[in-house]
């Protein structure tokens, strides 16, 4: 027998044991064996499908779906998993309900883990009402009951778990604890002891017959009075509180239902709000992109247009217009590779020829009294070459003429400090009043 065959046999053995335990409703045990079978042979479709069924029976719908989907993927034809998936999805909304139940359980678990036991208990009670086979929810609920020493309710939840999965290790452990706290463990021990022992009747044992005692008229009236009194006490101390509890429980359930609805509505509202915000952000971005492309003077389209006008000015040998257009163009928005090559050539040419043109334009504008335009041309000049004392001096004179003494003096200072040997230095000193 080769190794692979041995592996298949091992997988089959594990599957058989798992199946046996599943028949005995030891679902936890069966799941362990089936998982082991799949570790040996992942193509064991029966083992995988049965494992899915067990998960489904334990209320773990997602785990069941995983096993069945994987099963179909590994064996697409003639596979029972197809039928199971069909069953789960057949009833409209069933999957959605299962999904909501799991979400509620996770929420209840979060409540329990953060110490909000009351909220967790309310939520879990609703969950096990909706999905009575959700073992994990029963176990958590019973643990919370045990933590609050409500062993009767804990015991009831655990009985339900053990009815679904009769050897569930956690449920068995909890049940032992509950029994030890309620004294049932001792009762069971006694019962067990009595089942194997009895005392034979002795000769001197006497069986006493029940006595009959005739009541007098007064005694009857007193007995009726006592009966009425006990009746009233029973109503006051047992029936009324039970009714109150029932009403409270009903009220809590209603509150919880409203809370659930509110939560869902809030979730939906948050989702829609986020969607709206996303759409608004997308719209703003699209508008910005559009503006960048075709909008104001800084737009991409306008820069390409300016580049075309510069080329036209070159063609007409009109360098002054070319410079005027060039200095106001935003070269960073030219990204087309061919255009960038042309732009590089223009930039090289402008570095040589633009300063003279800009100086001339600046002087013309200053002469015409258009100081703002003059400063604009001089600043662009400085962008290309900031070591010309004449330009700095001219700018200083314009600022002085505009009444901006501080800036003017600062610029005169630059001429005096940096170009001390030039003729302009002496003029700058005079202008500053040295």
């Amino acid at each position: 027998m080769d190794y692979l065959q041995k592996i298949q046999y091992a997988a089959n053995s594990y599957y058989n044991r798992g199946l046996e335990l599943a028949h005995e409703r030891d679902l936890s045990g069966a799941a362990l064996y089936l998982k082991r079978a799949l570790q040996f042979n992942k193509y064991h479709t029966d083992a995988r499908n049965l494992l899915g069924l067990i998960f489904y029976e334990l209320g773990e719908t997602s785990d069941a779906l995983i096993q069945w989907v994987v099963s179909i993927n590994l064996q697409p034809e003639d596979n029972l998993a197809d039928h199971y998936l069909d069953e789960v999805q057949r009833k409209p909304g069933q999957l959605e309900i299962a999904s909501q139940t799991i979400k509620k359980y996770n929420q209840a678990l979060a409540h329990a883990q953060s110490g909000s036991d009351d909220l967790a208990v309310l939520q879990l009670k609703r969950i096990v009402e909706e999905k009575p086979n959700f073992v994990k929810a029963h176990l958590l609920l019973s643990l919370l009951y045990m933590a609050h020493e409500d062993y009767t309710k804990a015991g009831k939840s655990l009985v339900k778990v053990l009815h679904i999965d009769q050897n569930n290790p956690k449920a068995s452990r909890y049940m032992e604890y509950v029994k030890s706290r309620t004294g049932k463990a001792d009762v069971e021990k006694r019962k067990l002891k009595n089942a194997y022992s009895h005392r034979e009747m002795q000769d001197d044992d006497v069986i006493l017959p029940p006595t009959y005692k005739e009541n007098t008229g007064w005694q009857s009236i007193i007995n009726i009075g006592i009966g009425l009194f006990l009746g009233v006490v029973l109503v006051m101390f047992m029936i009324v509180p039970a009714r109150e509890r029932s009403l409270n429980s009903q009220h809590n359930n209603e509150m919880l239902a409203y809370t659930d609805k509110l939560n869902l509505a809030n979730q939906e509202m948050d989702r829609l709000r986020k969607e709206a915000e996303d759409y608004q952000a997308e719209r703003a971005k699209a508008e910005e992109d559009l503006n960048n492309l075709v909008g104001d003077s800084g737009s991409v389209l306008v820069q390409y247009q300016t580049l075309a006008e510069i080329l036209d000015a070159y063609r007409k040998d009109d360098i002054t217009s070319a410079v005027r257009l060039y200095i106001d163009m935003d070269a960073s928005k030219i990204t087309n590779e061919n255009m960038m090559n042309i732009l590089t050539e223009i930039q090289a040419d402008m570095a040589q020829r633009a300063p003279d043109v800009l100086q001339s334009l600046g002087e013309q504008a200053a002469g015409a009294g258009d100081y703002d335009a003059a400063l604009h041309y001089y600043e662009k000049y400085m962008g290309i070459n900031d070591r010309n004392p004449q330009i700095i001096f001219n700018m200083a004179m314009i600022y002085k003429a505009q009444g901006d003494e501080d800036t003017a003096n600062q610029l005169f200072g630059q001429v005096i400090m940096n170009f001390s040997n030039s003729e302009l230095s002496a003029r700058a000193k005079t202008e500053r009043g040295y």
């Binding site: 994990k136 045990m146 933590a147």
Partner: protein, 46 residues
């Protein structure tokens, strides 16, 4: 004796239905047969 705090911490959230496809994508279903085949292939190559 049961320590309730520890016991509650041991509970894990249930897998949500929305996470099923993601879990399937991430799941590793390598079995013993795959491992054995791999080993035999390595031996043959040597």
């Amino acid at each position: 004796m049961i320590n309730f705090e520890e016991e509650i911490e041991r509970f894990r959230p249930s897998l949500e239905v929305e996470a099923v496809s993601d879990t399937i994508m991430k799941s590793d279903i390598t079995d013993m047969a795959d491992i054995m085949m791999e080993i035999m292939k390595e031996i043959r190559e040597k």
